[in-house]
């Protein structure tokens, strides 16, 4: 499984970086989403669950349990990733609106 996880993480990161480097803002957002998934998968795969381990909920399964710390980190990372990509989207919309209005993009035109 770990080989597949590694390949998936690699694919997500690689595709994400390629899109992120694009000059086009919409592709950048897509790349960011892919990249954050890839990085999250990388982190969790590196945490190496022991075979046959149960979820980190006390009393839910027989010990050993998997390490809860990476999961806690990732949970917030996923939500923050959403916040960041949503912000990027807002930025993209704003940038395109300015371009469409022919305002020339100068901050002097801001209210």
């Amino acid at each position: 499984m770990i080989v597949l996880a590694a390949a998936c993480a690699g694919a997500l990161v690689g595709a994400g970086v390629y899109l992120l480097l694009s000059p086009d803002l919409q592709r950048v957002v897509l790349g960011f989403l892919l990249l954050s998934n890839g990085v999250n998968l990388t982190v969790l795969s590196c945490a190496r669950p022991p075979p046959g381990a149960s979820a980190p909920i006390v009393g839910a399964g027989p010990p050993p349990s998997v390490d809860p710390l990476p999961q806690a980190f990732l949970l917030t990372a996923i939500v923050i990733g959403l916040g960041a990509s949503a912000f990027l989207l807002a930025l993209a919309v704003r940038a395109s609106r300015r371009g469409a209005d022919g305002e020339g993009g100068g901050p002097a035109r801001e209210r």
């Binding site: 499984m1 770990i2 080989v3 597949l4 996880a5 390949a7 998936c8 993480a9 690699g10 694919a11 997500l12 690689g14 595709a15 970086v17 390629y18 899109l19 480097l21 694009s22 000059p23 086009d24 592709r27 897509l30 989403l33 892919l34 890839g38 999250n40 998968l41 990388t42 969790l44 795969s45 590196c46 190496r48 075979p51 980190p56 909920i57 006390v58 009393g59 390490d67 809860p68 710390l69 999961q71 806690a72 990732l74 949970l75 917030t76 939500v79 923050i80 959403l82 916040g83 960041a84 990509s85 949503a86 912000f87 989207l89 807002a90 919309v93 395109s96 609106r97 469409a100 209210r111």
Partner: protein, 899 residues
């Protein structure tokens, strides 16, 4: 008074006031700013009366005991003295500045002054050296900003950059010294260093940290060879110079020296270094003062010179311990700030402070009071008898003669005499400004400028101690340091001894310098250090702009490629280290054919996002990859992550589709093929590294999982079965607090970007599908109840604030699709903004409730007998509210203007 209260009043309250002033109308800022120095002086004076019970040390917060970093304060004689000085001179300067600027000073100016004062107060009472360093840097930053003013004058900008660079170089030396000192001494608390003074001074390893820290102190106090930055900083407005460059900031170096003296004063490095640097500055800066034409520059050089004298004095008393130094410091702070303020007044009255214009004009009968005050200040600067300045000079000479031995004694005595002569010379030249022959412009019909009386009253108050204690210094010396010996009377005549001879020689030299100062000032320049510094400042700016051009130009793709390559090289190192740790075992747990399912989803998703032309299809395949990742999370036994990932993927898909409707159609990818190849290379490299990292980590020997302890403590200490949630809301709750703050900032950013301008509300808000509408609205209560259930049980089973928040967000999105964005927007927009603030507030306050019971931040309290009600739940509720509000803000911002 408890040290905690004193810190709150003198450091935190002024900082808070500074922040508040920025939000108030300028007239209010002008009135309220006085509260800062008032509080500082009151606290300082009160603490001064309580000094009899010995120094008071307080450990306010243990930050990182293993790094010896604490928030700890020490209220001893020196700390409280400097606190009083900062407060009282602050009071004088603030009042003067109110009169000087009228309503022309901006709110930012008052806020900066207050912040600077707070930093100074914090600096003088810090016990921990790292804390002291933090305040030190805060004074550097605020003072540079004060020098720069509103940034409209290039002189002011140059002066600010120069002052910042020089004191910053010193600050970095200080930091290095502090770190080394911590290694050698094992503590960074000044009070503990002082207790161990004997063995530290004899330790040969102390030389490097001591030298580095003294370099920092000397740079701050404008000592040779750093003396040039102070005149450059004179572009600052006069009240700023009076406060920063005479009484407070430049004395910060002396504060540090005085703090270190009991601990390290016996070190063999101490006396030679401080005495040499101090005396050199005394002469070099005195010479520069004699040669300057601008009154403020004269004062700046003379400040550096006098601080040189005090520095040398600290060098001499290193072995015998602190005594009489406070009198020297008080003397200078009072007369020098008064002189600065008087120069400000002269400039207002005469319209200039250039000696070339001023000296020939006869002002004395127009401004008799000011001229008299000026004379007192000038005589104090010259060290004339019957004034405090004289007592200070004599004290210094006495220490010099007692401590210097061998041939250096005569060199030092000669330097001190030369310096005193120069001081008399530039003081007389300075005092001569009112006594020219030509009539002033007033008599030639120019109207006199209206000048507030405070511009004279404030310096007068500052000069009172000169007259009061100059004739009878003993009460002052006894008050500052009980048990110290100072002669009863003015001690003008104490026998025909060496001291007398030196004084007389100094006066003689001074007379010569005064008579010859104009030719001296016109002679060619000798000192080129200032030019060197200017060149350095210019070069460093050029280097900075070169570096930013090299790294930052070329658009975001170049930045990202650079960041990516940097990350890649770091990752190569990491991967090599991991690979070196053990041979990768390639197939652990190969018994899971299930893993093929998410892998296929991910490969297809990533490929689709790259190759498909239509952006909606791209977004959908992206979601596919995301769900694949969720399956992997399930295989890795992470139920909370599965829930979060599924909800986030759905939500981001909706957000993407909403945004796409407002974005222009996706063009085929721009740019030449070569650029695409480059990007592909970077992508493949980084992707390969991620894969290598995973494989490498799988082969590394199993380390003790970091979270095992948290897992074990989850139920007994966190009272929750779900270790992930316990970590989020309890063990690492502060992280979570930071993370939801990021969410709030992102939401505010979206509001600013899309909330205000453009995009008029359009559309009727008519629902598109009756059935969908019924389903969405009918389901909403059920979804809310389900979310609350997830929230409440999150501590024991998969769920919690983040997940429950995402469920509600999805419910709102569903309604948005069913009812039309306008309706949802109308209903959601205002409440979402409120929830954003309320959620963050609740999450920040819930863990703080423990403070009321004297327990540390993030100690969770539980209502006995209730399974759910606790501050953990409150905190999670705050997280929930923030997530819902953030998602709602994004949906309503992106849906704005949609039918």
């Amino acid at each position: 008074m408890a040290p905690t209260l004193a810190i709150v009043l003198t450091v935190l309250a002024p900082l808070a006031l500074a922040a508040a002033l920025l939000a108030l109308p300028p007239p209010w800022a002008r009135r309220l700013c006085m509260l800062g120095p008032l509080a500082t002086s009151a606290v300082g004076l009160f603490m001064w009366t309580r000094l009899g019970s010995g120094p008071r040390r307080a450990l306010l917060l243990e930050v990182a005991p293993q790094l010896k970093v604490n928030v700890s304060v020490l209220f001893d004689r020196h700390a409280v003295f400097f606190l009083v000085l900062v407060g009282l001179v602050g009071l004088a300067v603030f009042q003067y500045a109110r009169a000087y600027f009228g309503d022309k000073a901006s709110r930012g100016f008052w806020a900066l002054m207050l912040a600077f004062m707070a930093a100074m107060s914090g600096l003088v009472v810090s016990d921990n050296l790292v804390l002291l360093y933090l305040f030190w840097e805060l004074t550097t930053v605020t003072s540079s900003l004060l020098i720069a003013g509103d940034g409209s004058s290039s002189d002011a900008r140059r002066g600010a950059v120069q002052a910042f660079l020089v004191t910053e170089v010193g600050g970095l030396c200080l930091l290095a010294g502090i770190v080394l000192l911590g290694q050698v001494a094992g503590t960074l608390e000044i009070s503990q260093l002082v207790e161990r003074g004997e063995d530290l001074s004899d330790d040969p390893r102390i030389a490097a940290p001591l030298a580095l820290m003294l370099v920092g102190a000397l740079a701050k106090s404008a000592q040779f060879p750093f003396h040039f930055w102070l005149p450059g900083a004179m572009a600052a407005p006069t009240p700023v110079s009076a406060y920063l460059h005479s009484a407070t900031m430049v004395q910060a170096g002396l504060v540090l020296v005085a703090r270190l003296l009991p601990a390290l004063g016996r070190s063999p490095l101490w006396m030679p270094l401080l005495a040499t640097v101090g005396l050199t500055t005394f002469v070099v800066a005195g010479w520069s003062a004699l040669r300057s034409w601008d009154l403020k520059r004269v004062l700046a050089h003379s400040t550096a010179a006098y601080l040189g004298l005090v520095t040398a004095y600290y060098g001499y008393i290193g072995a015998s311990g602190l005594h009489d130094d406070l009198m020297l410091v008080a003397n200078h702070a009072l007369y020098k700030s008064a002189l600065f303020l008087l120069v400000g007044w002269i400039e207002k009255v005469t319209g200039t402070r250039d000696l070339r214009t001023l000296t020939p004009e006869r002002w004395v009968q127009h401004v008799p009071v000011g001229a008299a005050l000026f004379a007192v200040g000038v005589l104090a600067m010259a060290g004339a008898p019957l004034l405090l300045g004289f007592v200070s000079k004599e004290t210094f000479l006495q220490a010099l003669l007692e401590e210097e031995r061998g041939p250096t004694r005569w060199i030092a005595a000669a330097a001190a005499t030369l310096g005193s002569g120069l001081a008399l010379g530039y003081a007389l030249k300075f005092g001569n400004v009112f006594f020219g022959r030509e009539p002033p412009p007033l008599d030639r019909g120019h109207p006199r400028h209206e000048v507030s009386r405070w511009l004279v009253v404030v310096p007068a108050l500052l000069l009172v101690p000169q007259l009061l204690f100059g004739a009878a210094p003993r009460p002052l010396a006894q008050a500052l340091e009980p048990g110290t010996y100072v002669p009863e009377g003015p001690a003008v005549w104490h026998g025909a001894d060496l001291l007398m001879g030196l004084s007389l020689a100094g006066y003689l030299l001074g007379a010569v310098f005064f008579l010859a100062w104009q030719p001296i000032a016109r002679a060619g320049r000798l000192s080129s250090l200032e030019d060197l510094a200017a060149a350095l400042a210019k070069r460093s700016l050029a280097a900075a702009s070169w570096a930013s051009r090299a790294v930052q130009a070329g658009g975001s793709s170049r930045h990202l490629a650079l960041v990516g390559l940097a990350a890649a090289s770091a990752a190569v190192g990491l991967a090599l280290a991991v690979a070196g740790a053990g041979r990768p075992a390639l197939f652990p747990g190969g018994d899971r054919p299930l893993a093929w399912i998410p892998s296929l989803l991910i490969f297809a998703g990533a490929g689709g996002a790259l190759l498909l032309r239509d952006r909606a299809s791209k977004a959908v395949t992206l979601g596919m990859a995301g769900f694949g990742v969720a399956v992997f999370y399930a295989l890795f036994r992470a139920p909370d992550l599965v829930l979060t990932q599924v909800l986030v993927e759905s939500l981001s898909l909706v957000l993407l589709l909403l945004a796409f409707r407002k974005l222009p159609p996706l063009e085929p990818e721009p740019g030449p093929a070569a650029a695409k190849v480059r990007r592909a290379v970077v992508g493949v490299t980084l992707g390969g590294l991620a894969a290598a990292l995973v494989l490498g980590a799988s082969g590394a020997p199993a380390a003790e999982p970091a979270g095992r302890l948290q897992l074990a403590r989850s139920l007994p200490e966190g009272h929750g079965h779900n270790a992930v949630n316990v970590i989020l809301v309890d063990f690492r709750g502060a992280d979570t607090l930071g993370e939801i703050t990021v969410l709030v900032i992102a939401a505010l950013g979206a509001l600013v970007l899309l909330g205000r301008s453009g995009g008029a509300e359009a559309g009727t808000g008519k629902p598109r599908s009756r059935i969908l509408e019924k389903v969405a609205t009918g389901l909403l209560p059920a979804e809310l109840v389900f979310a609350l259930y997830l929230l409440a049980r999150g501590h024991d089973a998969p769920g919690g604030g983040f997940i429950a928040g995402l469920v509600v967000s999805l419910a709102f999105v569903l309604s948005a699709i069913a009812l039309g964005a306008v309706v949802v927007r109308r209903r959601l927009h205002q409440p979402a903004r409120g929830a954003l603030a309320a959620g963050l507030l609740v999450a920040a306050c819930a863990p703080g409730l423990a403070l009321l019971w004297g327990r540390p931040f993030f100690t969770h309290l539980r209502l006995p007998g209730s399974p759910v009600l606790s501050t953990t739940f409150l905190f999670d509720l705050g997280v929930f509210a923030v997530v819902v509000a953030t998602a709602s803000v994004f949906v309503s911002a992106l849906a704005r203007g949609e039918p």
